[in-house]
Every structure is written in C-alpha cells, then in structure tokens.
C-alpha cells in the first residue's frame, strides 16, 4: 500500500496530538492527581504510537510507546510526580523533532538514549536531560575580499551549518551557489541546539570567513509556534459539509437551466426569480466555504501555556496564564498571520509587563463581524509620559505633537519600528521583532490594534480582526467621478449633514457627533483631486484612525456589497492607502482603501518615522 499519501495527514494529526500533550502536561503540573488528565495524556501518546507504527516510523513509535508506558505507570500510581513533568515535556519536544525530520524527509533522529534514560536517572542528572531546545538562529557570514572561490566557500559554510542543525533558508540559496553565483556574503536561518557563540566561533575558524553575526530569532522551536506553514496546510472537512457542497452544486445547476430556459423564452419574471434563487445559493455556498476555512483559535494558542511556563522558568517569574474563547473560529489565513504576533505579545507581557508575579490572559470573543483577540496582563503597565518623552528625544515627535497627542495615541508609538520602552533588551523578548511587526500583521489582515495601558494598571493589546480575508463587505464611495471602496469594518458610520452643521475649530472643519467633536477631511483633497463647492447635504464617512474618529467628506455613497478581494502586485501594491482591489459587476476595477493607511501617508505625527521606510 502506498503510505505516502497518508504522510501529510499523519503529520497534521500528530501535531495536534502533541499540542494537546503539551497542554495536558502543563495542566497536570498544577494538578498532578487529575485522573482525567492522566488518562487523556495516556490516550494521546497511545494514538501517536498507533499512527506512527502504521506509517512505519519506528523511532517515533518507539518514543510514543515509551511515553505511553510512563503514563501507564502514573495511571496506576494515581498522580504525576513533579520530575515527570520535565521528562514528559522533553519527550514531547523530541517527538516534535522527529516530526520535523519526517516532514523534511530526513531519517528519524535517534531516541534510544532518551528512552533508556529512565525517570530516576533523569531526576539525578537533570542537567543532562535539559537538552537545550533548538533555537532559530539568523546567521550572516561575510567572506574576505580575497576569498578565491566565494561560491564554493559559501557552499561549505552552508554545509557546516547543516552539520550543526537544520538549515531552513539561505540567501543565496544552495542551488544558486551550485550554479556558481558569486556570493561574498551569506544569510541563513538555522534551527539548532548549538550555542550561538559556539556556532559563530566554528564559522570564524573557516578559511576566508571575515565576519560572522549570529542572532537568536524570536522563538524557539520547543516553546514557540509552529512554523507558519506547519499544520495549517491540510484541513479536515466533515463529510456532511461535503454533502452540502454537492447538494448546492446540484441546486446551482438547476438554477442555471432554469435561467437559460427563462432567458430563451424571454420570461423576465422567471429570470428575476432565478436570479433571486442564485443569490441565495451563492450566499449559502460562501457561508459553507468559509466554514471549511475556519479553524478554532486554539490551533495557534495551543502552545502558549507551554511558552509561558518555559519563560517563567527562565525568568523566575510566577505567572498564572489563562486562555478564554479558544473555540472561536477564524479564517486559516488570519490564524497563520496571527501566530507570531501572539507569541510576541505574550512574551512582551512576561518580559516587560509582569514584574515578579501576575496574571496573563489571552481571550477572544465575537463582536458582530469581527473577532476581538486580547492579550492582557496585570503588570506594571506603560507610562504614556515616558513614551512621549522618549519619542521626543528620538525625534519621532515635535514638541507640539507631543503635547497634542492623547495618551492612547502615544501608546501607539511603541509600534514604530525600533521603538521599545525597555531600557535593556532581555533574552526573552528577543530583538528585531517588536510591536511594529505585530501591528503590521494585524493591519495586513484589515484589522486594528488597540493598546490600553496605564502605569500600575497592566496592559491590554486588543486585536480587532475580520473573520475572513478573501471576501469582505465594502462600501462604495464616489469622488470626482471615481469609485473607491472602503472595508465596512473600517466604517464607523455614514451620515449626510447640512452645510450649517459644519463648524470650524481654528483652521480645522469639525462636526459634532453626540459628545464628540470630529474633524473633517476632504477625500478629494487627500487624493489631490479638484475641490468642488458643496450644496445640499454633504455625505460623510466616519472612520477611526488610531482610536480617534475622523470624518471623510465624499461626493456620494454608491452602495454596499460583498467583494472578493484581489491582492495587488508590484507596482500597484505601492500605492499609499490601497490594500487591494475588486471587480464590480460591470467589469470596473475598484481599489479598496484603508483609511488609516491613507491618512498615515498624509500626515499624522507617528508617521514621521514611517515615511523613511516607505518612500
């Protein structure tokens, strides 16, 4: 029998089991006599063993069997002794390594040493057990100018890296080097248990190597998230859902024949009825296809408890970690993008938020068509004034801007590239990836990031995310004969006002919305289109930019609809404020505009630094 087609399935499913195992072990660490937890852990190991054995993955099966045996012992004993926690976690890590081997189609790594090291000996030699978790290292190697055969040398560097870990990527790639592409420097990512300093020394010892920089990337394999593409490549679909698809296809075919015959006979009432039916069916189809793409948040939060536990160990902090709303479902594409930012925010909370002991909560909830994901800690919080001063000092704000910005706007400054409120960077938070990456990721999904914090009152990062990215609701707007689209998720409300309702505050036109004074901006002016005199009612689209309401004056609202978002390619992806495009029923292409990006490009203080990045 050809087992290769089961490989993917095995990998996906085993990862899920491993995820659960990690969480169960951590839960048992807190409550070692939880009978159900022990039983569940036993079953997880048992499932992995069975699957691995059927696939012929001997080492994986052997290790799973060993863990199953251990659990069986604890089952009889009725509790999980504390030393077993590390042992089991190390086992889970090793299984993960084995999965990595299988995924990369390498021979499985050896497990005999682990399996033969019983529980007792492990306790005594805890240091030997604590094999460092493989870390993701970024390596940059520069060759001397007089290197005689740089491509060959670079190839050797890659081979050397391969000997000490798993080479994930390199620029130039091995293939390019083999084709003899000259390379005086090389960048690579390698997953390794090797100490960064040691690795650097090893590389420096090579001939022609002039400079080596080894950086630890943000996450470690054991504690971090699966690599972006892992575990989300395949989906399991309930058969009843597939049945729905078949039924729907049948109904669509019927509608087609009905429309065809009605059109031939020019029976327009029938055509209209057919179109109505078609609309309903497409809506149905959309709904069900989305369901297939939906996965519970759990698929990316699953490893966070382990991450927090390991970080607590490292930092000596005492942190209770809560997860809520993990069953909430989001589009797979969104979850993939969300994985790294979540890890980063939780790390931040451990590292900069909580001082000694405290609580971190990751929670999710549905709010209309959005999902709110929140990372909250009850730690020291952020001081807006401190951030304000620092931004001033760094030249990111002018003194006037510093005074004018509200505290919640000031907090957004931590999302500027390179801005960090920590005076020193600890190992935990890593370097390079900061809140700027989190914010960029969230915004690329059409979501928003809100930061709420006060000194001594903890911090809350609130991610507002759409449920899906491919098909969204848009509002069409006309401006000087052009049509633009705004995602509905970005529209707070629309209204039409009379000229006399517009007031001025200094040079700024404003309107009053309840208690709030909302500044008005002309979309025509933003887009450098000729202005026009307004008569009668003036349509205004109210949006939120950095937590502040702004009214955009447009020519006309042209309706709301569902749109299939096409991403733009170079050079169109460089247009300020445009996040995608969609095709209207009449074939016109309409740009989808993100008001926040649009206004960021225009002015708004925190953008000063961003300009340099996106000229």
């Amino acid at each position: 029998m050809d087992m290769s087609k089961y490989r993917e399935m095995f990998l996906t499913e085993t990862r899920e089991h491993l995820n659960k195992m990690g969480r169960l072990v951590i839960a048992l660490e807190k409550d070692p006599t939880d009978r159900e937890g022990i039983d569940a852990l036993f079953r997880e190991a048992h499932s992995i063993k069975g699957m691995a054995a059927s696939m012929g993955y001997e080492h994986t099966a052997e290790l799973a069997h060993h863990l199953e045996d251990l659990m069986d012992g604890f089952r009889k004993g009725g509790s999980l002794p504390p030393p077993a926690v590390d042992r089991l976690l190390a086992g889970v890590d090793l299984l993960e390594g084995l999965l990595g081997d299988l995924e990369a189609k390498r021979p499985e790594r050896k497990v005999a040493a682990f399996v033969s090291g019983g529980l007792k000996s492990e306790v005594e030699e805890e240091s030997s057990l604590a094999t460092p978790a493989p870390a993701l290292l970024r390596v940059r190697v520069e060759l001397t100018a007089e290197a005689a055969a740089p491509a060959a040398r670079s190839l050797l560097v890659l081979k050397e890296l391969g000997r000490h870990g798993e080479l994930l990527t390199s620029t130039p790639s091995e293939g390019r080097l083999v084709r003899g592409e000259p390379a005086s420097s090389l960048e690579a990512e390698v997953q390794t248990t090797q100490d960064p300093g040691q690795l650097r020394a090893l590389l420096l010892a090579m001939t022609d190597v002039a400079r080596v920089v080894v950086d630890e990337a943000v996450e470690t394999a054991a504690a971090g998230q699966p690599r972006r593409d892992e575990g989300v490549r395949t989906v399991r679909v309930r058969t009843e859902l597939l049945d729905r698809f078949i039924n729907l296809t049948g109904e669509l075919i019927t509608s087609r024949y009905m429309l065809q015959s009605a059109a031939r006979a020019e029976q327009w009432t029938q055509v209209r009825a057919g179109l109505g039916q078609l609309t309903r069916q497409i809506g149905d189809l959309h709904h069900h296809v989305l369901q297939v793409r939906m996965m519970p948040l759990e698929s990316v939060t699953g490893r966070l408890p382990r991450l927090v536990r390991d970080l607590c160990r490292k930092t000596g902090k005492e942190i209770r970690f809560h997860l809520a709303g993990e069953e909430i479902e989001l589009d797979r594409a969104i979850l993939e993008t969300l994985a790294d930012p979540l890890v980063h925010m939780v790390r931040n909370a451990v590292d900069h938020g909580i001082e000694k002991r405290g609580e971190i909560t990751v929670s999710a909830r549905r709010e209309k068509d959005m999902v709110l994901v929140e990372v909250a800690d009850d730690g020291r919080g952020m001081d807006a004034d401190l951030i304000r001063r620092k931004a001033l000092k760094k030249g990111l704000l002018s003194p006037g801007q510093a005074k004018a910005l509200l505290d919640r706007e000031v907090l957004q400054l931590i999302c500027l590239p390179g801005f960090s409120t920590a005076t020193e960077l600890t190992e935990t938070s890593g370097r390079g990836v900061g809140m700027d990456v989190v914010k960029a990721a969230v915004e690329s999904l059409g979501g928003t990031l809100e930061i709420r914090s006060a000194p001594g009152a903890g911090s809350r990062m609130v991610l507002k995310l759409p449920l899906s990215v491919a098909i969204i609701q848009i509002l069409l707007v006309e401006c000087d004969g052009r049509t633009l689209a705004f995602p509905i998720t970005r529209v707070v409300r629309t209204l039409e006002i009379a000229q006399r309702e517009i007031q001025s505050s200094g040079r700024q036109m404003v309107i009053r919305l309840g208690e709030e004074v909302v500044p008005l901006l002309s979309l025509r002016r933003i887009l450098h289109l000729p202005s026009r005199p307004y008569a009668g009612s003036i349509p205004i689209l109210v949006t939120e930019v950095r937590g502040r309401k702004v009214g955009l004056v447009v020519d006309r609202f042209a309706g709301q609809r569902e749109a299939f978002v096409k991403t733009l390619v170079f050079p169109l992806d460089r247009i300020a404020g445009v996040t995608g495009a969609t095709v209207l029923g009449d074939g016109r292409i309409v740009f989808i505009v993100d008001p926040q990006l649009l206004l960021d490009e225009r002015s708004a203080p925190p953008v000063a630094a961003r300009r340099g990045e996106n000229p």
Binding site: A148, A149, P150, V178, T207
Partner: protein
C-alpha cells in the same frame, strides 16, 4: 602519533611541498599518489585521517577519485587542492563530499588550518 595524510597530486613538486608543510606541522605522511586511480587504491590500503586531492590529474580526475572514495568510505575527509578559476569544479567536489578546499599557491598556515579544522584537531 600525528594524524596521517594521503597526498594526491600529479606534480612531484606539489607533493613534496605539501609533504614538507604537513611534516613540519606534526602530521604523518601516510602515502602519496600521482593520479586518481592510485588515490583510490592507496586510500583503501592506508585509510588515512586526511586526503589532499588535486583536481586535474591523468587517468582519473580528483573529483572522480573523491566520489569513489566517499562511496566506499562515507566518513573520508578529503580536502581539494584547486587552482584559481576552478570554482565550478570545487563546487562540484563539495557536493560530492569534499570537506574543504585549498587554493594554489598554498599558504602554509592556511593548509594547516584547514587540515586541523577538517580533522577536528
């Protein structure tokens, strides 16, 4: 006892020079070979810790010899000796399992550095 080196080069001059460099640095010369065919045979006989292998040689090229040696002895430590402008060949050799390379004209300390590194000393 020093590490044992098999020196493969069709030029006597080069072999002698390498012999001197290695001997001075405390290595032991296991044997020498003047072409690829000899190299494969002598490797079998003396199982050295290290081979320096010229690339362009009569009868059998250094790369072919390397491939045969590595096929028979996957742990063989072979360092290629190349001239300037032979990068494509060197790349080919590395893919075939060469552990490192040195470029003529040799610098004494470079040869020894590479030899020590490859043999893990």
């Amino acid at each position: 006892m020093g590490l044992r080196v098999l020196i493969v080069d069709d030029a006597l001059f080069m072999r002698n020079m390498l012999k001197e460099i290695f001997t001075k640095a405390g290595f032991e010369i296991a044997d020498e070979a003047a072409n690829g065919v000899e190299a494969v045979e002598k490797y079998r006989d003396c199982q050295p810790d290290l081979v320096t292998m010229d690339i362009v040689m009569p009868l059998k090229s250094g790369i072919e010899a390397l491939q045969e040696i590595v096929r028979e002895h996957p742990r063989a430590r072979v360092v290629m000796c190349s001239a300037l402008g032979q990068e494509t060949l060197v790349v080919e050799a590395i893919q075939a399992g060469a552990r490192d390379f040195i470029v003529k004209p040799f610098k004494e300390h470079q040869v020894i550095e590479v030899a020590r590194r490859v043999t893990g000393g």
